[in-house]
């Protein structure tokens, strides 16, 4: 076992050891880590044995930059990290977890080792993390090939861990890096946010909905605010929305079943209606309107549309973005508003 200082010569020595299948203790922006090159399975196996770590627990990667991270988690997931790295965010995708540390020497080392290393904390499993080289040496260093002394590490907070395999992020561990929370189970709203390049997680809300039969604007405004409050309240980065269809002097929400969906479509057939969406974010709320003109719908068209879309979870019993051409003749205003999430308020609030 060899100890080096975190300078250029030390970097060469540590990179040399890792690139030939060795194991090294290295500093990071949080605690000291025990590292191995991912291209040397035997070296990675040594990490497990040195730490007495459960073999079923995967060891995450530290990467020099987002493009190095992308080789493991894919371009799309790496983009989530790219906006926030270096720092306390681990992005998980394709079964791998990657972080770019906020530690310049370590990033240079990672680059010198091909872009990424498998790194686990330099302590025995279940014990306290090491925040300096001496502690790391005492814990696991004697079993390593080289120990890099970069002085005290700041220690501190565990990273935020997010799974980035789908349209929405899944927060696996809360941490210092925060993401927008979409308080809605609507795949259409998720699609709009994703299309805008916004990274977000989803929380489904069970806030009771109110209806003011003669006041569509108040209805969506109050429901949007209530949903946001139900999912963490003001200041928690929660985006919520409520959409209704206003036609024939009444509010059309989500139909109770397919039969009611057919009734809604019959009543909207050949008419113009207004879609109202209330959008709330951290106590702010906006209401956006769009007018939609329906084609005259035959019973056959209604039946085919209902069978194809099964629109029971859509306000007004339709989805402009799914076979919308079958029923919609035209619209004015925001298309995204008709889908359930207008873009303008998001731009105004700096979300998109």
């Amino acid at each position: 076992m060899n100890t080096v200082i975190c300078d250029d010569a030390g970097l060469s020595a540590v990179a040399g050891a890792l690139n030939s299948g060795g194991v090294a203790v290295i500093p990071t922006d949080t605690v000291y880590g025990l590292a191995a090159h991912p291209g040397f399975p035997a070296a990675v196996d040594r990490l497990y044995s040195i730490k007495s770590r459960d073999a079923r627990k995967p060891i995450a990667l530290l990467a020099a930059d987002a493009s190095s991270a992308a080789k493991f988690i894919g371009e799309r997931a790496a983009l989530v990290g790219k906006k926030r790295w270096p720092g306390a965010l681990t992005v998980v995708a394709n079964g791998e977890g990657v972080r770019v540390p906020d530690h310049e020497w370590t990033r240079r080392l990672l680059a010198a080792c091909g872009g990424a290393l498998r790194v686990t904390s330099a302590n025995l499993s279940g014990r306290r993390a090491a925040t300096d080289a001496a502690a790391a040496l005492a814990e696991v260093g004697l079993s390593a090939d080289v120990v890099a002394d970069g002085g005290p590490s700041p220690g501190g907070v565990a990273s935020t861990v997010v799974k980035a395999d789908g349209i929405a992020l899944e927060i696996l561990r809360e941490g210092p890096v925060k993401f927008l929370v979409l308080a809605s189970g609507s795949p259409r709203r998720a699609k709009i946010l994703s299309g805008l390049g916004v990274d977000f997680s989803v929380v489904k809300t069970d806030a009771p909905e109110v209806c003011f039969p003669e006041d569509p604007e108040r209805t969506v405004r109050e429901n949007a605010l209530a949903k946001g409050a139900n999912c963490g309240g003001f200041g928690a980065g929660v985006l919520s929305a409520d959409t209704i269809v206003w036609a024939r002097g009444r509010i059309y929400g989500k139909p109770a079943d397919l039969e009611e969906a057919r009734e809604f479509l019959r009543e909207l057939s050949g008419r113009t209606h207004t879609v109202y969406t209330g959008v709330a974010y951290d106590g702010k709320v906006e209401v956006v309107r769009s007018d939609v003109k329906f084609r005259k719908l035959s019973e056959e068209t209604i039946e085919e549309y209902v069978a194809r879309v099964r629109p029971v979870d859509r306000a007004g019993a339709y989805d402009v973005d799914e076979s919308g051409d079958m029923i919609v003749e035209g619209w004015t205003g925001s298309y995204e508003n008709i889908m359930g999430l207008p873009v303008e308020p998001l731009k105004k609030w700096g979300i998109a």
Binding site: P213, E214, W246, A247, R248, G249, G270, R271, T272, H273, T274, R289, D291, K293, T332, G333
Partner: protein
């Protein structure tokens, strides 16, 4: 957008008194229609309501209905408005003047604008 059509004059049978069932009286209908915003930019009557044609439809509907109650007349006018495909919501008021001595007018409003 709100389109108001005021003072549509309609001569029709309206009222519950025997004399009122035998002669037409003039009532005035005020309509308040929520219509799409589109016509404000397109300048196209196809995007809104042809209120001249609607006024005529209201006249025909009230003439045919021969309502006894002014309330019923307001509902008939409202239904006529709601049959227009570009009317999103509406309110209809029927004003009947001079039916009763000492009362200037009676007015009924139906709808939720």
């Amino acid at each position: 957008m709100v389109l108001k059509v005021n003072g549509v004059a309609v001569d029709c049978i309206i009222g519950d008194l025997p004399a009122e069932r035998e002669r037409e009286q003039r009532v005035f209908v005020n309509l308040e229609l929520e219509v799409p915003d589109a016509a404000a930019s397109s300048d196209d009557i196809g995007d809104t309501v042809d209120y001249a044609a609607l006024a005529e439809k209201v006249r025909k509907a009230l003439s045919g209905a021969k309502c006894r109650m002014v309330e019923r007349a307001a509902k008939v006018a409202y239904d006529t408005c709601m049959a227009e495909p570009n009317v999103i919501s509406a309110r209809a008021a029927v004003v009947k003047r001079g039916a009763v001595e000492g009362v200037e007018s009676a007015e009924a409003t139906y709808g939720n604008r």
